[in-house]
Symmetry: C2
Subunit: 546 residues, 2 copies
């Protein structure tokens, strides 16, 4: 007679609304909502969706910035028994259409400022029955009138009725589907289960060191891996969510000052935006910045620390609920010379408290397309032998939605294949060396673009850098660096190349350095190397590893 309870992040809002009914759960502009109000609105949303014909298992899509409604959706949609599809707000109309149709969403909630990505496709959507428009008093269209039902209308449909239970029948049921950025082909729908979302949330609390006094600023998009599960994690601990429509340095510093923000998450490019804002100053307390999405350079880590930030470096993918590894601090690092220490901190690290181990493997087998026969052999922990980073367990997706072939391929040998190449250090810490598709093969040697970028970034005039392989008659490929200089700083390409040669092997140094004003980036701040590469390769074919 075992009376277990199915794990679900819904239980977190149930608890915090009971324990902290009058505590501020959400701040947006001048508005405040308590935990009791947050739970009430999640219930209204859930009932409103039910009243709108949403049945258990249906998908509900949200195209929203980091606003209170997006927090509601992380609870209200699964509370209705439905599956949340949080759509990237930077996508084109055609990309949005693909995701809505592929996920089979029946309801779409869209912010009025993002209607431009919906209007051109609204007549062509296969499954969406209703479009609900979110008009945000803090948004640019605050005064606009819309003909569609509004988010307020949707909540009003759920005003009356019994509270739905904060519980699920099966913790392995899907809570959300997150579409990959799809740089190599169509986006894939990554399915998260309630169990994984619950456990990852507890892991985020432990590793980002949250407690009930946490004030969390929403610099990381909630459409990105469900904001690394933070809508659930921060609600679990009973902290305060500070909403943010746009990642702008001035707005961020204003909110840090106003609310004494204790935590934020973001890609290193977001961190760069914060550090390079005119408002940047040294904090008188340790604001925890949890960063991932691209390896932060040792230089970035040192600068963040100088401003008073405490850096928690994590690593993962959409397929792993966001963070899966953490560069766990070791006490004896404190005594190291700062650059050496930051070098250790810039590694991707070890599995989080709730994950399985992380492995770096070479994929063996006569026929690697016969995935069931694949054998995964760990590379030696020597810090130099590259292999593919693979993950496993509760913190890994249950598969791609309606794509059994891609799922089978991703889980070759029973472990999820990240497509990232890395090394295992003797201390058991993983270091990312490259995306399989980005690694440069020069004269038969693999060159990690990440390693070259970190050497370029160590030059004092360099603000951002991206390295890609460009065609080279003699070597096949050679590295080329695209560089943004710091404001008011100057450096000649030759000077940067010489600097790099003092740090890493000469053959790894860029042949060319191009000073640019900006770098192409994804909506989540990742540099789009394929765009830089396409320009350089023209029509030439490039052999891709892995």
């Amino acid at each position: 007679m075992t009376w277990i309870t199915q794990l679900t992040p819904l239980s977190f809002l149930r608890r915090s609304a009971g324990v902290y009914p009058d505590k501020t759960a959400i701040i947006h502009g001048a508005a405040r909502w308590t935990y009791a109000e947050f739970a009430r609105d999640a219930q209204r949303l859930a009932r409103g969706l039910r009243a709108s014909g949403v049945a258990p298992g249906d998908r509900v899509a949200c195209l929203l910035p980091n606003v209170p409604a997006m927090l509601h959706a992380h609870f209200g949609v699964p509370l209705a028994g439905a599956v949340l599809v949080a759509v990237n707000t930077r996508l084109s109309a055609e990309e949005v259409r693909y995701i809505l149709d592929h996920s089979g969403a029946t309801v779409l909630v869209v912010d009025s400022a993002l209607l431009g990505a919906v209007e051109p496709i609204r007549e062509n959507l296969e499954t969406v029955r209703e479009i609900v428009v979110h008009v945000d008093p803090e948004g640019p269209d605050a005064g606009s009138t819309v003909t569609d039902p509004t988010y307020a209308d949707l909540l009003a449909r759920g005003d009356d009725g019994e509270d739905l239970p904060w519980a699920v029948d099966d913790e392995r049921g899907t809570v959300s589907i997150n579409y990959t950025s799809g740089t190599t082909g169509r986006p894939k729908g990554v399915q998260y289960h309630h169990r994984g979302a619950y456990l990852n949330s507890l892991g985020e609390i432990v590793h980002s060191d949250h407690d009930p006094s946490s004030v969390y600023l929403w610099t990381l998009p909630m459409f990105h891996c469900n904001g690394w599960c933070t809508p659930w994690a921060l609600t679990a601990i009973g902290g305060t969510h500070v909403c943010l429509r746009e990642v702008r340095g001035d707005a961020i510093w204003g909110l840090i000052d106003e609310h004494r923000v204790t935590h934020l998450n973001g890609a290193p490019t977001v961190v760069t935006t914060i550090m390079n804002a005119p408002e940047a100053r040294i904090l008188d307390y340790a604001l925890v910045v949890t960063t991932a999405g691209a390896p932060p350079s040792p230089t970035t880590i040192l600068e963040m620390e100088r401003l008073g930030f405490r850096v928690v470096h994590v690593y993962g993918l959409t397929e792993t609920y966001g963070p899966y590894t953490v560069c766990q601090w070791q006490d004896d690092w404190a005594a190291l010379e700062p650059t050496r220490r930051a070098r250790l901190q810039s590694r991707q690290g070890v599995g989080m408290i709730q994950t399985d181990a992380v492995r770096v493997v070479q994929v063996m087998g006569d026929d690697v397309t016969d995935w069931a026969s694949v054998d995964l052999v760990d590379v030696p922990a020597d810090g130099t032998t590259m292999g593919e980073i693979v993950m496993h367990g509760n913190n890994v997706m249950s598969g791609y939605f309606r794509d059994p072939d891609a799922t089978a391929k991703a889980f070759a040998g029973g472990w999820y294949h990240s497509g990232d190449l890395g090394v295992m250090h003797p201390d058991g810490y993983v270091e990312l060396r490259d995306r399989a598709k980005d690694v440069i093969i020069s004269g038969g040697e693999n060159i990690s673009t990440v390693e070259v970028e970190q050497a370029v970034l160590a030059h004092p005039a360099v603000l951002e850098a991206a390295v890609v392989g460009v065609p080279d008659e003699r070597w096949g490929e050679r590295p080329k660096a695209f560089v943004i200089l710091r404001q008011g700083k100057k450096a000649e390409p030759e000077e940067i190349i010489s600097h790099v040669k003092t740090a890493i092997a000469r053959y790894k140094a860029p042949r060319d350095v191009e000073i640019v004003a900006e770098l192409p980036k994804t909506s989540t701040g990742k540099i789009q190397k394929f765009e830089l590469r396409n320009k350089e390769w023209g029509g030439q074919e490039r052999r891709i590893q892995g």
Copy 2:
């Protein structure tokens, strides 16, 4: 294709040994063991048990103080696929025999200083095939020679061989059986599953605010609810375990000073021992004391805070892996007058982050012996209506070992019945009023002995107090207080009674106060009220509630 991993606390030592191989995991006297050594010894124990014929599902009993071997056992026994039975070290030989036979343990590991409880029964044990003697260099019998195999022999049997996987096939499988103290009948074997132990451990980390720098002093016996899962929780976070054979004030203060202990757990009586030791002094940092086992009085909470302790008040039972509720701190309490604040902090509180809600119910049904038909009706949240405290979910035992009747009775209506009477306050916090069997029925009114005790303890001369119902011709029962005075302090019974009448209703005040030198206690520091009562009632029958 969902590749979930079964939850088990074994994964915590796997991780910490990988992440912190050289960090001090265990301190015992002058000896130190790293996490790599801790994991190695757990593996040796597991292989040694296998080599000794222990098969998956077998029970392994340990009669040990809080020594490194007991920490090993919390990992090594389940690693061997077996079930840990940690036996109370204060039991008589006959009580130990009952537990060994009932659990069907095949191997017993016993500390040489505790052989007195084993020698008289060793020839009569039904299932124990081998007795292994643990000779502790820090123990009183350090130099003794034993004829049985020693713990060192057992580990040596496991020196060679492959490491066993830190994993289980079924998270709902039993990790340990903890026997209740059995004050009302035979001890019952409470079964914990891997899933519950894993989740409770994460909850302990969150609520006791552990981080990798935690230095935890083992004042709470590991045989008591597996030390509230702390062998697993502290290992998960990578803190340092400081072992302790005996709860003595001088030893505790010596270790606090030597290792700058950050955390300890214990019943209020343990806390009293610490606070009243001649070595007690005001700490220059906040040592977290997580306390449960009996409600701490507001007076105790204020004294602990004066010494610099940060009090985390939790509540639970053997059947709930130890803690299930926590008196979660509310920011607005900081502004309250200290006595009023301590009064709020002395309540048992709300469900922990990983538990279901806690309820206070009246058990309804025409036939309460027909448990399936039982209806549980929540009492009003008015702070006065008493009901039974019931719990549910992952943090509740899977049942009593080999006792389906007791299990069915304990889970009447689908919730675990604590046998504790309490009230639900308007803010959703539960407050324990009494054990069902301790509550005093006087002139038809229920009197909470806890409430009377807290009023008695507020008298400045009183160190400890226990209140029980004694026969009264007119009222049926009246409260009587047994009191230990503080050293050097004096108070007449009449003076204490008058003091109590200023704090609570006159009819609740004790009719008699008896000044005593000591109070009968269980091995875990709980006052044994039935002993006090038995003396007062002689042969007279007493009606018991609930």
